[in-house]
């Protein structure tokens, strides 16, 4: 069974083989190290001239990737930790996301910025965050986050080889070693929005047309949600979970459909709650499903404080399976 990490590694290799314009740059990406999370492992051995190890200059290398993209190449820049995107913010917000629009559609910036988000490894406050909310809402960049119910390699191939737009590609640290989820036992996985290249994974623990509860989430949260769905199947609680592969633009029609299967919605995310992705999803579902929901939407997210390095503190700060289970049960009382 392919892991999330292997899927990404293979995809990068295939992309390098398919198109000579693809290059990768980032810190510590050369073999034998192969990147802090090993996604670029083996790449520099097979394509020595197209993998560029860089100094610790996240802002500059993000701009360099953009410049290369504007001059006909297909760069992938690896930012070692998602937390470091703050250092890239000016290049992303005021350069990469602006050129096509402000130059009146005369340029394209097809670069992919890959980075792992998420906690659970005891790295502490500055190496465990999910900072995508800082970029969500910035027009003209796509933000993609495969869960392990997706094929992350397929999404990466789409982003690197076919996309004309700049893409922030969010991986998840705890998903890397996990096997990709498949339909098995009580769990059934199907994909909506396939034509976009960044599908919405619909995971059900039932084969009914209606469910008790719908969970809307993304990225690394699949790690706790899928086992929870298996457990709940045993208790005959039917849950439909939707994991959009694209956080921005948001496939809102699919989320409305998934929410409509139950009329009871839990939104779960690894980032902090206020002014976040979940806030936007909640607002949109509320607008579109006014009067049709059985209960107020419940939002779960990280607590509004730094993520402690200590294990118990970190667990308490981040959303766990029990929090989601409690929320689901709360909606069914």
């Amino acid at each position: 069974m392919t892991t999330y990490l292997a899927s990404l590694q293979t995809s990068l290799h295939n992309a390098f083989e398919a198109d000579a314009r693809v290059v990768l740059l980032g810190e510590d990406v050369l073999d034998p190290y192969g990147g802090a999370f090993k996604v670029s492992k083996g790449l520099s051995t097979d394509f020595p001239n197209r993998v560029m190890t860089t100094p610790i200059s996240e802002g500059a290398i993000t701009g360099v990737a953009a410049g290369m993209a504007m001059r006909g190449m297909k760069p992938v820049v690896e930012i070692m930790f998602g937390d470091f995107l703050t250092l890239c913010a000016d290049q992303i917000v005021n350069h990469i996301a602006k050129f096509r629009g402000m130059f009146n559609d005369q340029v394209r910036v097809p670069c992919v910025i890959r980075t792992p988000m998420g906690g659970g490894r005891g790295y502490g406050a500055t190496h465990s965050q999910s900072l995508e909310k800082m970029f969500l809402g910035t027009p003209e960049i796509r933000i993609v986050a495969p869960s392990h119910a997706h094929d992350p390699g397929e999404m990466l191939a789409k982003a690197v080889l076919q996309a004309e737009e700049p893409i922030l590609f969010l991986e998840n640290k705890l998903l890397y070693p996990m096997s990709l989820a498949e339909s098995e036992g009580a769990i059934n996985v199907e994909y909506w929005d396939k034509e976009s290249g960044y599908p919405t994974a619909i995971v059900r623990n039932h084969s009914l047309t209606a469910a008790d509860v719908t969970v809307v989430s993304y990225g690394g949260m699949s790690r706790v949600i899928l086992p929870l769905l298996e457990e709940l199947a045993e208790e005959e609680i039917s849950v439909t979970a939707a994991f959009p592969g694209s956080l921005q633009p948001l496939p809102i029609d699919s989320l409305i459909m998934a929410a409509s299967e139950s009329g009871r919605v839990v939104i779960a995310e690894e980032g902090t709650e206020a002014f976040g992705w979940g806030s936007e999803v909640s607002a949109l579902l509320g607008e579109h499903l006014y009067g049709k929901l059985e209960a107020p939407i419940v939002r779960l997210a990280a607590k509004s404080r730094v993520i402690p390095a200590a294990e118990a503190g970190e667990e308490d700060a981040l959303v766990q399976a029990t929090n989601i289970e409690d929320a689901i049960m709360g909606l069914l009382v």
Partner: protein, 313 residues
């Protein structure tokens, strides 16, 4: 004897060539000056929104550096004070003025405005220092394509306090990229004097990163062009990245009326203006005619554009 004669012939040829270059640069500089003053006038008339950052007094760095390039393949990255660079690159008076006026005929359809211009290999952005990494990426791509293209990125002395520039210096030197960092030292970061902005020296900073560096009188257009030509040629033949410091002075306000400098200080730089200095080396009548031609050209463009938005004088 023969040597002496050859020398005299060489000197005469050089002189003729310099005069012809001076005329070309004077034409470009006077066009830039005319456009910039026209933009300030249009602003006063209420025909421009937003802001303009004019390069009055700095025309020699635009004309001198950009004419050292191969405009078919080389790349220019500019900043908020980029109209002069743009005109020296492509002489597109109508595209620029229309852009600043927010008209669809503008080079970016009026969406970009004064600080966000793009045409062929010219790109500008209003985030100070921000184009440094982008330019470094352009140079990385062109090097990997073996295109022989040189990328020039312009920064003022104010932007030289931005960190992105030093990350770019490091990358450019590590990767021996075909890039020129042109520093237009106009002595002011908006309202702040260079002494309050810049520690050490630009050349010292370049040296620390292993960039080849030179400093030139940025108001002497021939000296700028000579220095830039030599540096660009070295870069193109693989000698690595470089910095060219252009000492100049911003004669106009930072943007529109925001100038609190002592008028006497500005006045003391009047004779050092690159256009004035070039004029003293050329025939005054020719200069007057050239200036009139530039004014006529710009006026014609402005009248057409005003008419297109339903307004005329």
């Amino acid at each position: 004897m023969r040597n002496n004669t050859a020398e005299i012939v060489d000197i005469a040829a050089q002189r003729a060539s310099n005069i012809s270059r001076l005329k070309r640069f004077y034409s470009e500089m006077i066009l830039i000056r005319t456009v910039e003053q026209t933009l300030l006038d249009l602003f006063s008339e209420g025909l421009l929104r937003g802001t303009v950052h004019t390069c009055l007094g700095q025309e020699a760095s635009a004309a001198g550096v950009i004419n050292a390039l191969d405009k078919d393949r080389d790349i220019v990255c500019s900043n908020h004070r980029g109209h002069g660079h743009y005109l020296a690159y492509c002489a597109d008076v109508e595209g620029l003025i229309a852009e600043v006026m927010g008209l669809p005929q503008g080079v970016c359809g009026g969406i970009g405005g004064s600080q966000h211009l793009h045409r062929k290999n010219f790109y500008s952005n209003g985030i100070l220092g921000g184009m440094s990494p982008i330019a470094t990426g352009f140079a990385t791509a062109e090097k990997s394509k073996n295109s022989g293209a040189v990328t020039v990125v312009f920064h003022g002395d104010g932007a030289m306090a931005e960190g992105a520039i030093y990350e770019s210096f490091n990358l450019a030197a590590l990767w021996q990229l075909p890039i020129l960092f042109a520093v237009e030292s106009n002595k002011y970061a908006q309202s702040t004097r260079i002494e309050s902005e810049i520690a050490g020296s630009f050349l010292g900073r370049a040296e620390a990163f292993g960039l080849t560096a030179a400093e030139v009188d940025g108001n002497d257009v021939l000296a700028v062009n000579d220095a830039a030509t030599e540096i660009v040629s070295n870069i193109r033949t693989g000698k690595g990245p470089a910095m060219l410091v252009l000492d100049t002075y911003r004669m106009g306000p930072h943007s529109k009326g925001d100038d609190d400098r002592n008028p006497q200080e500005i006045e003391s730089h009047r004779d050092n203006c690159p256009i004035t200095r070039t004029r003293t080396q050329l025939d005054a009548d020719w200069c007057d005619e050239t200036k009139l031609a530039a004014t006529a050209k710009v006026d014609a463009v402005v009248n057409t554009l005003k008419a297109s938005r339903g307004r005329t004088d």
